[in-house]
């Protein structure tokens, strides 16, 4: 099997799922003007760029592309902005967060464009990669706990699927950490497969309509009858 098969599947799945979410969220932002949806859109857009950059970096060998910088930092920052958007619903807070995100995203695009000229190796690679890659897992794990709390309160299918998605993503990121110390293809593949599973959960979470599990309720209203 091509050693790039699993990473390619992961990159393409991540690209299409995050691009779909990003574009749909962007469209809804134009119709709803919700700042939280805007933050989601930009975050997922950056993540989709990291995915396609990773795919190109893995498959194009004719020119040196050091996309790991953009990959690790872009994903970490994007997940951080999603997490920060949960913290408060105040208008001033979300407006400032949007501004910060736009500024940071422009810097990240610069980092992506600099991929051909960035140094091929991180300084203190083991430690740096562990921190950068591990931080993604940590942020995803914190997001997972937010969804657990939300599920305990509201019992919606959306929070359940999102919780499962971020659980799989966080373990997918955390499980590959030992490879930075001792190369291990098995762990790498397991991590990639877990992340693909997480993305599938994420995709279904945003694709399926809202359902509340509590009371298994079925509600109809506004039927009008005149005697």
């Amino acid at each position: 099997m091509d050693p790039n098969f699993v990473p390619n599947v992961l990159s393409l799945t991540l690209f299409f799922v995050s691009l779909f979410i990003s574009l749909r969220a962007l469209y809804l932002y134009t119709q709803a003007r919700s700042r939280r949806i805007f933050i989601l859109s930009i975050s997922m857009g950056v993540i989709s760029l990291t995915a396609i950059a990773g795919f190109v970096g893995d498959n194009v060998t004719s020119i040196p592309l050091n996309v790991d910088w953009f990959n690790y930092i872009g994903q970490t920052v994007s997940f951080i902005f999603i997490l920060l958007s949960f913290i408060s619903g105040s208008e001033a807070y979300l407006r400032n967060l949007m501004r910060w995100q736009i500024a940071v995203s422009i810097l990240l695009l610069g980092l992506m464009l600099l991929s051909p000229v960035l140094p091929p190796e991180f300084p203190a690679p083991t430690l740096t990669k562990t921190l950068l890659s591990g931080s993604r897992g940590l942020i995803c794990h914190i997001i997972f706990y937010y969804y657990v709390v939300s599920f305990m309160k509201m019992e919606t299918r959306f929070s359940l699927l999102m919780g499962l998605a971020f659980l799989a993503l966080s373990f997918g990121y955390l499980i590959i950490l030992p490879k930075y110390f001792i190369p291990n293809d098995g762990l790498d593949r397991t991590g990639d497969i877990m992340r693909v599973c997480g993305l599938i959960f994420l995709f279904f979470a945003v694709l399926l309509p809202d359902v509340k599990f509590r009371n298994r309720e079925k509600v109809r209203s506004n039927y009008q009858y005149t005697k």
Binding site: S34, S85, G89, L207, L208, E217
Partner: protein, 312 residues
Amino acid sequence: MDDYGAGHDATPMNKGRRQLVITAQLYKAIAYMSHIDELFQWLATEFVSSFHVQVVQFWALRANRMGQMSVELRTCVGQDPAFPLHFVVNNQIAATAQQLLSGQYDNMLRPVENLFTSYQASTLTRFGLYHCSCSFMHSGMLLPPVYNNSNAQLVPTPLSVAVLLYFRPLPTRDTLSAIDLILEQAVSISESRFLRAPGSTTSGQLPAVRNVPLQRQSSLSLYEIIPKRKEDNNLLMSSNPLSGSTIIPDKRARRFYTAVNDIRNVKEICEHLHIDLQEATAALQILVNEDRIYLCEPDGQLVESSVFFDQF
């Protein structure tokens, strides 16, 4: 049509405690409700889950400008998602509900054969609904029309709601007493939050911003009022942000909402968007009704939004 069944609960204390718990939860949940239909739905859901009611319906009397009365189903919640609700939501049930609301009946529990036509009763028993209780919610204050109802012929009507509860096993007296006590509390809360005194409105719509009890009627003009955004805290946490439910369908309202930044007052927004007060009022009314914004005075004090909209 007089009294309850003679069943006795083995643990009456539990029913009493449950009633107290639900009442306490109601006081908490009410803060997040913006329309009385949300209250009806909340109550129906609680009855289904806490008292093992198979189906709960809230039928309300409504009137049009000609003074004609009819009934309207405001909420129907079933315990089993697979239950075909059209067997309990039809003209025969509506006719019975209107009959109950038109008469001077007390709360009651009946075998379905004694309440509905024989055909309807046989349909209900086929689905295991052998008993039906009816409790009433009455108030002299006005019940607003269904949320977002655009029928201009409907007018606010004094609260008169028949709560039909369908049971498989015979419910106990304690169960029914607990439900009645909760409904009494709900009427009392509704009078201060969702219902309106007769003669106090011309629009028939209640303001959507209702989650802070101490709203005051502003002495300022609408120009000086600052609209503030209400971000849905459940969005992206428990509700799917991509489902499309967040869309603001009206283009003018969407444009106005974009200009709302919790700092600009209405006059500044009008200048910013180059619109007049009438357009701003129309957009504001849509946004308030959709629960997207609330209105504040410059000192941050919440104001009663309907005061401004009734002027137009």
